[in-house]
């Protein structure tokens, strides 16, 4: 059940298109920057196969120039540094 956030950079002039694509995809929440050509993408998938499939879909987006991971979480926690929830 991974939760991952990315910085998504669109190709020139394609920010609106990319944002629209990402917002329409399952398991995705996308937020466009107000003053830069940049999008924050947060994905929340139920299992590893879905995650892999989503990543393939993301890589295939024509408006996407670059996707950089900023945060990744899976259910494997560090026994010494886990959080009390």
């Amino acid at each position: 059940m991974p939760i991952i956030s990315y910085l998504a950079t669109p190709n020139d002039g394609e920010k609106a298109r990319l944002l629209s694509c990402l917002q329409s995809m399952d398991y995705c929440e996308a937020f466009g920057a107000e003053n830069k050509d940049l999008i924050i993408l947060v994905t929340d998938t139920p299992n590893e196969p879905t995650e892999k499939k989503l990543q393939q879909q993301l890589k295939a987006l024509p408006a996407l120039q670059n996707l950089s991971m900023a945060y990744g979480h899976s259910e494997h926690s560090n026994p010494h540094n886990s959080q009390e929830q």
């Binding site: 059940m1 939760i3 991952i4 956030s5 990315y6 910085l7 929440e29 937020f31 466009g32 920057a33 107000e34 003053n35 830069k36 940049l38 924050i40 993408l41 947060v42 929340d44 950089s68 900023a70 945060y71 979480h73 926690s77 560090n78 540094n81 886990s82 959080q83 009390e84 929830q85």
Partner: protein, 771 residues
Amino acid sequence: MELSRRSFIKTAAFNSAMAAAAVLFPGVTFGVWKDNNAGSSSITWKKTPCRFCGTGCGLLVGVSNDRAVAVKGDPNCSVNKGLCCVKGYHSVQALYGKDRLKTAQIRKKGKLVDVPISEALDLIALKMKETIKKHGKDSVSIYGSGQWTIPDGYVASKLFKGCIGTNNVEANARLCMASAVVGFMTTFGLDEPMGCYDDIDHADVFITWGNNMAEMHPVLFSRMVANRKEKKHVKIIDFATRNTRSSLASDKSILFNPQTDLAVANSICYEIIRNNWVNWDFVKKHVSFFKGKTDIGYGTEDHFKFTDKLNPVDIDGYKEFLKDYTPEKVEKISGVSAKDIKYLASIYGDPTKKVTSFWCMGMNQHTRGTWINNLVYNIHLLVGKISSPGNSPFSLTGQPSACGTVREVGTLTHALPKGVVMSAKHREMAAKIWKVPVENIDPKPTYHTVEMFRALDRGDIRFMWIQVTNPMVTMPNLTRYRNGAKKDDRFVVVSDVYPTPTTDIADVILPAAMWIEREGFYGNSERRTQHFEQIVPAQGDAMCDTWQIIEVARRLGYQDKFPWSQENYIEEIWNEYIQFHDTPKHRMAPYSLLKQRSGVQWPFVEGKETKWRFNAKYDPAAKGKDFDFYGKPDHRARILLRPYEPAAEFPDRDYPFWLNTGRVLEHWHTGSMTRRVPILHAAVPEAFVEINAKDAANLGIVNDGKVKISSRRGSVVMKASINGRGNPPMGMVFVPFFDESYLINEVTLDAFCPMSKQPDYKKCAVKIERV
């Protein structure tokens, strides 16, 4: 609506991406975040300064069901204007580590056992009484921190100095900014920067002196980068002993040999005079020249004493002194080319350029820390680039209230909330406000931090109460001080939020309410006082550090000096404390205003904050038409003649490498909080030793290979980092100190600046071996 665990993680994911975006694209904003908030109708947002460094970023903490669940930068805070660093965005997660201390513990038959907190407080008071009776008042001590809130430090000082009558009050800020304090006092007669962060928006050139701001003060560094992006002529020059992220982002990086910043600073002054770039009008009206003692020692022996003696000199005497520092001569010892020294001088000397110098631990943790502070002021004073927008020599701090608490409240052995214990006038003022007999306040300082731990080892001190700090990781030459603290007839109380190597040696542990689990104030690097209310409940039996001290004070019989109720004691303490500073030079904002705003800068006079001190245009305390350095009796700042002198220990045949220690972006100081934040821990899970690739090749060391670092005091084995984030030059290694599994301070040397008593964590000699 209760925020689910996955929503919490998603918020953290979003915040991480925001933090990354802010570093890559300074000034980036995401308006949709507001929409995101709107959906979380049950989240309430409360303002607070960040828990970590001395920048003092304003945060908005989102609270749901009494739990802090989210963080965003406070757009109303002028410090960060809505931006945070990666630690700030994840700061609230530090509240909720699984091993949070929630009950008091007492060591019984060698084992720590849980007890009601009242039992622990009773025992602390009893031990203090017994120790004072048996060994005298100077056998008990308190060691606090630049993370103490202002009320914490204030009641500690009042109890120990005003009531018990001992000056055994110190704080870990001695380890991080004492040289800055003594630098300010010797040059200007008053502590803390004259400028403010607005200087970043006005400067044309930034020169960072041994200061990796990209990692240590990332929000301020982002503001510098944003200024450069907006105004194409703006330059950042990194002047340092190793290559860092700051070097990479700078327009020019100049490396110098450790300790030789003293020589380079003098050489810059030599060049400024030689080229007649001096602002003579400023110098004649506002500057005087003095020469102090030389060959002043390093403090490595117990009971070390030093007092400086200043003699006036004239400009010709200063020119004569500088003849030893021609760029060509200095090139030979510093490794900085004469051309680069001349380049630096030309920047300071160019009357069309506004220059801000930033520094932090590189200059302060230095056996001549006071001197190098003085020398950078000399440069700015010679060219008159000071106390005006963009022209600023600016000493940064590393803790959220090193300025607010340690420097302003005066939680150091020699200090009082205003002035020093040596002054009868200052003792009388303190006695009057504290309502104690003036005879209670001892006119003689006792022990600075290193000497205080030496006194604990020797047995001169038998009782120590440690609050909000982790000295069993941070003390240099650590093995001696840990062994000393563990001796049978020593009694150590530790107030903290997590188990640490310091709680490991405690006889009593008090669980502390952390940050927004209580009300308090911090004071940041730009004279900004920042109030925060209690936003979430304290966990278990955890108690505010201020209230812990009040409880013990009452048990010691000082009820009348600490009469406040739990309902409003922070406000009452604030109102008592600010009586110490009620002059135009340091007046502080009222409680009601601090509650409303994201910080208020002092001096706060007639409803106005003071952005630039010592300049009549901005500072109501300054008299005359332009500058007035009113901290000195003659209203002049001082150019002080300070020579280059070598480090206390330097590489030799047996120990051929310099060891430099410091921090990383993701972890804050000893890591006791940030290592409990999963994403920060995952980013940098353990400490490492940075080594130059050529040195590594010569020694057969590979990346991630095990390396033993040894000095004359101890050794540690850790993984190597080659061509990693930082890259030291040949002959130097760098180790961060955030990881308690690798106690690099067992290797460091407890030499200190004889004037500030601040240890030098940046220079000692080590050998490196492949394991």
